[in-house]
């Protein structure tokens, strides 16, 4: 157990950069390759790496399962809420042009919002799957 010092230190060094890269992929998705799906998997990957090296209990202390189970539907709600907001303001479902004074700016904001919803749902679903599998294994 104590022989994996290199792994532990290496993982501790690499995780901040993984999370930062996830955020970059998420927020830079407007201009380069990336978006909510990819960023969600990268963020979940950071936690999974942490769980693989430090154990499931440590990982669940960082991200409890209750939180994960709360986040899975929250992302869907962010996405659907963005759509419903447009609906309530007299536009079509998911027509983002109401979100700002100018239609293009509103659509940019809408894309940001729904991508955030995708990020939340995808990352927490991946973590939930990992938890479900590895909890059953012990």
């Amino acid at each position: 157990m104590r022989l994996d010092v290199v792994l532990r230190v290496g993982v501790k060094l690499i995780i901040p950069f993984m999370l930062l890269f996830g955020l970059y992929v998420q927020l830079h998705g407007d201009y380069g390759p990336g978006g909510g799906f990819q960023a969600g998997v990268i963020v979940a990957g950071a936690l999974i790496v942490y769980a693989l090296i430090f154990g499931l209990d440590e990982a669940q202390r960082v991200v409890p399962r209750r939180l994960v189970e709360f986040l899975v539907p929250l992302g869907v709600l962010i996405y659907a809420g963005t759509g419903a907001f447009a609906l309530l303001n007299g536009h079509n479902f998911l027509d983002y042009s109401v979100l700002a004074a100018h239609a293009p700016a509103g659509r940019e904001r809408g894309i940001l919002l729904v991508e955030a919803g995708v990020l939340v749902t995808v990352s927490s679903t991946m973590i939930a799957l990992f938890y479900a599998f590895s909890e059953r294994g012990r």
Partner: protein, 177 residues
Amino acid sequence: MLLTLLVIVTIAIVRMRSLFGVIALSGVYSFLMASVLMVYDAVDVAMTEAAVGAGVSTVLLLAALHLTKAREYPQPRPAAIPLLVAVVVGIALIWATYDLPAFGIADAPIHKHVAPHYLQNALQETLVGNVVSAVLADYRGFDTFGEVIVVFTAGIGVMLLLKGRRQGRDGREGDAR
């Protein structure tokens, strides 16, 4: 070259009995597939393939392997009917490709319908420089909503299945800690 490697890896996956090796090879397959997608300039898809196919699904499969045996049971007898079905379907699919427009041709229907509009107007209409993101989240927002629902449903399903089974076997709450 890449496609040849893909074929080799696929045959190795089919022939192999050790499931651990199969999982490692399917990671290799995903990375090769990501490289193929890179060659086609589909960077967004390549990124997803590398992250999901090679990264997360390998970990999930290893976790699933932990729950089962590590070796595949050999088939008791050669399966003639499945082989026949596979060959017939394969021939039908290859036959169908002759009706497709030539690969990479500029005036294929897919390049004539809405794609030019997206390519020319996405930046002005959405202020988002990456056309893929604009199409994904705005023009085709409804489809992406469906995808998110699919991910959500899959996650809920797995959680229910694995949690429910554990409760049944041990007779205690799944998250009582």
